[in-house]
Structure formats: structure tokens, C-alpha cells
């Protein structure tokens, strides 16, 4: 109830923050997908690179966001974007890599070799085997990774507030500093709602993309 009231009283700010949040997260997720999936695919061809890349992604995931920002501000300031949306997006993209890369890698590696064999035997290039056989068959596991990454991004998207990119994190951190439970909860609920909405969206996309022939 309080939370409802809070939203009523702060609807304008809520919308602005939610919009900022959604914006930062969407861009991040799109970039993260556009980088993580190809990297995950690429390392299936190269077992040595695989280890290295996965360790790097792992290390990145362990860097605390504040430290990451501390590293990024001087670098990105060169382009005049030391704070704001850009570093937030970079951070989210970096953090999303591990689940996306690792799942893409594991998914593609676990496609039935007999089926891949059929593709190769028909004269598919590596790229075609990937696009026509491995990816479609690995899709549901790749999506598992993407959905984890997306939900995680929306969650840690709150840190965008640290760096002046706004977002619902503002409610949460202000609420924490103020020990203002309603504000924290409102922020958290808004973030959760967004996460569920996006997860449902991804579920629908997954449903459309994953072949009916693979469902049992």
C-alpha cells in the first residue's frame, strides 16, 4: 500500500528512472548478445582460446562495479563520457559476458555430433553448420544464458545510478542511505517487474525461435 502510494506520489520520477533503466539495460543487453554469442561460438572452434576467454570473462565478473568504474572513468573521459550512460552500459556488457559466452559454448558443444555430421557431410561450411544446425539446436540453452544475463543486467543495472546514468538504482540507493524501506522496496519492485516483463519477452522470442521439432 505504502509502495502504491509512493509510486502515486513519485510517478513522474518513477517513469523517468524506469525509462533510464530500461534504456541502459536494453542497449547493454543488445550489445552483450551481439558480442557474447559470437564469442561463445568462436571459442567452440578454438579450445585454447576458449579457456582464456572464459577465464577473462570470469575475472571481469568478479570485479566490483565501483572498481570497474574507477578504472573506466579516466579512460572514457577521453571521449567525454567518463560518467553517465556509456560507462554503465560498458559495465553491464562486461558483466553479462560470462553467462552468455559460457552457455553459448556449452550449448553448441553439446549438440548431437551425428546431426552435425549430417550437415558437414552435405557440404555445409563451418559457418553454415553453425547457422543451420548447431545454433538452432542449441538455441534453448543459449537462451537460458541470455535470460540469466538479462535478468542479471536489469538487477545490476541499478549501479547505473553510481555513475550518473540514473535508473531505478537511484530509488534503491537513496532508500538505503535514508533507511527508507518503502523507497527501497518500490525501487526493487519496479526493477523486478521490469525483469519479469523482459524475461517474459525473451520467453516469447525463445518460443518463436526454437523449432517445434525440438519440443517433446
Amino acid at each position: 500500500m505504502e509502495i502504491w502510494q509512493f509510486f502515486m506520489q513519485n510517478w513522474h520520477q518513477t517513469l523517468v528512472l524506469a525509462w533510464q533503466h530500461a534504456w541502459v539495460v536494453s542497449i547493454s543487453v543488445i550489445i552483450a548478445m551481439a558480442t557474447g554469442v559470437p564469442i561463445g561460438i568462436w571459442i567452440t572452434f578454438n579450445d585454447e582460446a576458449a579457456e582464456t576467454i572464459l577465464y577473462i570473462a570470469g575475472i571481469i565478473m568478479t570485479i566490483p562495479s565501483i572498481a570497474l568504474f574507477g578504472i573506466m572513468i579516466p579512460i572514457l573521459s577521453i571521449f567525454g563520457h567518463g560518467i553517465g550512460t556509456l560507462p554503465a552500459v560498458v559495465a553491464l556488457v562486461l558483466y553479462s559476458q560470462l553467462p552468455i559466452i559460457r552457455n553459448t559454448y556449452a550449448a553448441i558443444k553439446s549438440v548431437d555430433p551425428n546431426i552435425i555430421d549430417a550437415g558437414i557431410g552435405m557440404g555445409m561450411t563451418r559457418r553454415q553448420v553453425l547457422g543451420k544446425v548447431q545454433l538452432p539446436m542449441a538455441l534453448s540453452v543459449i537462451f537460458a544464458g541470455l535470460r540469466v544475463a538479462v535478468v542479471m543486467s536489469i538487477g545490476i543495472g541499478a549501479i547505473a545510478a553510481y555513475i550518473g546514468a540514473g535508473g531505478l538504482g537511484r530509488f534503491i540507493f537513496s532508500g538505503i542511505n535514508q533507511t527508507y524501506g518503502t523507497m527501497i522496496k518500490s525501487g526493487a519492485i519496479a526493477v523486478s517487474l521490469m525483469a519479469i516483463a523482459v524475461d517474459i519477452l525473451f520467453g516469447c522470442i525463445e518460443n518463436r525461435l526454437v523449432s517445434k521439432g525440438l519440443r517433446s
Partner: protein, 279 residues
């Protein structure tokens, strides 16, 4: 027409800083500047880096913080001396200009629950020292990492007052949680900030620093040399503000936000009007 007087205003992300940031924005806006709001940055590190790298033009830093954690100098307990030292050193070393400092002192303090303090008959830090010596097992102390580790923090404090919490009774945690933990009786004593509105809101008491240990933390707007040179009027604007922001006022402002959950903008607007700084 005249070129627009643009400034990017930052702040750290706790309540007092949000209020200070908002004050700067509203004040400067009323004096013909056009401010961009970049308040709420995630801590000293981010705000300072952002300033140094030109991502923001100004934010309020505390003299004690700058002295100890940024300039890595020894503690100075006199406000004026401290300010002067910092102002000079930061300009020389980093090309940053400290504008006039605010009257209030947001120093560290130790807090207890009011009834608990009364029951244990603890009013001052010397009382606490005595109590701890007598009952080392009966008291838990909460601090954030910063205070625990700072050269003007917990360890010299112990030395000064000649006491020591048993190591297993010291709990280090995030400042936002300390108050709650103290209120929920997970702790008996916690560090805090003197102007924090929650002290009032949660019915806590500040233990008196009877030996004058804690350093001073007066906030002052910090900006780059070039900006200060370009807009000399800033000096005057903030000196007007300086006297109006004493410890009591700041505590009240903090309480309005933290305790009464009023929006920062509204609280600041009310303050500036009441203080006659904007019409």
C-alpha cells in the same frame, strides 16, 4: 546573446550529499547558471575521478576527507586550518579550487540507542571507554570499513580514549545498514555521521567527544581552476550560502529527507527560500 553559463553539478550518493548537490543546482540556477544534474555518484572515488577528468564541474567535498584520504596528510582538528591547508595543497597538487566552506561539521561520531545509553550510563566517549574496560563482552561495535581503516578513524580513537573493543565484537558493515543494525539491537555502539537525520529519527544519541578527537569535516564546493577563473562570482555565491548551513540546519534538512521522506528538491527549495537565498 551571452554564452550560456553551463555547469555540471555532481554529488556523492548519500542523503546529505544529494541535498548539497541540489542546493548548488537550485542556487546557481537562480543566479543565471544552467546546471546539469549529475548528483548521486557512487562515492568519493567516483565523484573525485569524475571531477578530475572533467566529467563534472563541481561537487562538495569534506575538508577532512580530502585531507586524509585524498591528500593523505595528517589530521588537523581546527576547521579553518584544515580548510586552508586543503585549499592550498589541492590547488598546488591537482589544480582544484576549493570555494568557501560550509559552516556545519559532518564529522564522525559514535552512536548508541538512547535508552541503552541511559541504562548503561554512557554519555561521553570516556564513559564508553570505562564501560568497555569493565564489560568487554557486553558490547558490540559497528563500523564501516572506511572508519575502521582511516588514519583518523577507529584505531587512533581507541588510543586516544585508551580502550579496545575485543576484535570479535567489532562488526564491519555498510553505513546504510549500521543504523538499522543498531536500531534492531544487533549492535550496541555504531559509528555515524554527526549531521545524519536518522540520529534524530531513530532516537539515537551521539556520545560526546570530550577529548576533541574527531577531525573536522566541513564541506566545500570543489571545482577546477579554469572554472573558478571563468566564473569569479562563484566565490561570492557560496560565501553567502556558507553561513546559512550550520550543523543544526543540515541535520534538520537530512531529517526532512531521511526521516520524513520528503523529496530532496522540495526540502532544498524550502530551505533556500527560508534562508532568503532565492526569492
Amino acid at each position: 546573446g551571452a554564452a550560456e553559463k553551463k555547469l555540471v553539478i555532481g554529488s556523492k550518493n548519500f542523503t546529505e550529499q544529494q541535498i548539497l548537490g541540489e542546493i548548488m543546482i537550485q542556487l546557481l540556477d537562480s543566479r543565471g547558471f544552467k546546471c546539469e544534474d549529475k548528483t548521486g555518484l557512487g562515492g568519493t572515488l567516483v565523484a573525485r575521478k569524475a571531477l578530475e577528468n572533467g566529467q563534472i564541474d563541481m561537487y562538495m567535498e569534506y575538508t577532512g576527507t580530502a585531507l586524509v584520504t585524498i591528500l593523505k596528510e595528517n589530521v588537523i582538528t581546527d576547521p579553518k586550518a584544515c580548510y586552508d591547508f586543503v585549499k592550498k595543497a589541492d590547488l598546488e597538487r591537482n589544480g582544484l579550487v576549493w570555494l568557501p566552506y560550509m559552516a556545519f561539521n559532518n564529522t564522525y561520531c559514535l552512536l548508541m540507542r538512547r535508552e541503552d545509553a541511559a541504562q548503561k550510563k554512557i554519555k561521553t566517549l570516556s564513559d564508553l571507554s570505562a564501560f568497555v574496560k569493565a564489560n568487554p563482552a557486553k558490547i558490540r561495535f559497528g563500523t564501516n570499513d572506511e572508519f575502521y581503516a582511516r588514519p583518523d578513524g577507529y584505531k587512533p580513537l581507541q588510543k586516544k580514549y585508551d580502550f579496545q573493543f575485543p576484535e570479535d565484537k567489532i562488526v564491519k558493515m555498510a553505513p546504510g545498514l549500521l543504523y538499522k543494525a543498531l536500531q534492531d539491537a544487533d549492535l550496541e555502539v555504531a559509528m555515524g555521521f554527526a549531521t545524519d537525520g536518522r540520529i534524530k529519527g531513530m532516537d539515537l544519541v551521539i556520545l560526546e567527544d570530550d577529548l576533541n578527537y574527531f577531525p573536522v569535516y566541513n564541506p566545500a564546493p570543489v571545482t577546477k581552476k579554469e572554472i573558478a577563473a571563468k566564473y569569479p562570482e562563484l566565490e561570492k555565491i557560496f560565501s553567502e550560502l556558507s553561513a546559512k548551513l550550520d550543523t543544526q540546519t543540515m541535520t534538520n534538512l537530512n531529517y526532512a529527507v531521511d526521516g520524513e521522506h520528503k523529496p530532496v528538491k522540495e526540502v532544498v527549495a524550502g530551505f533556500l527560500k527560508a534562508a532568503g537565498l532565492v526569492k
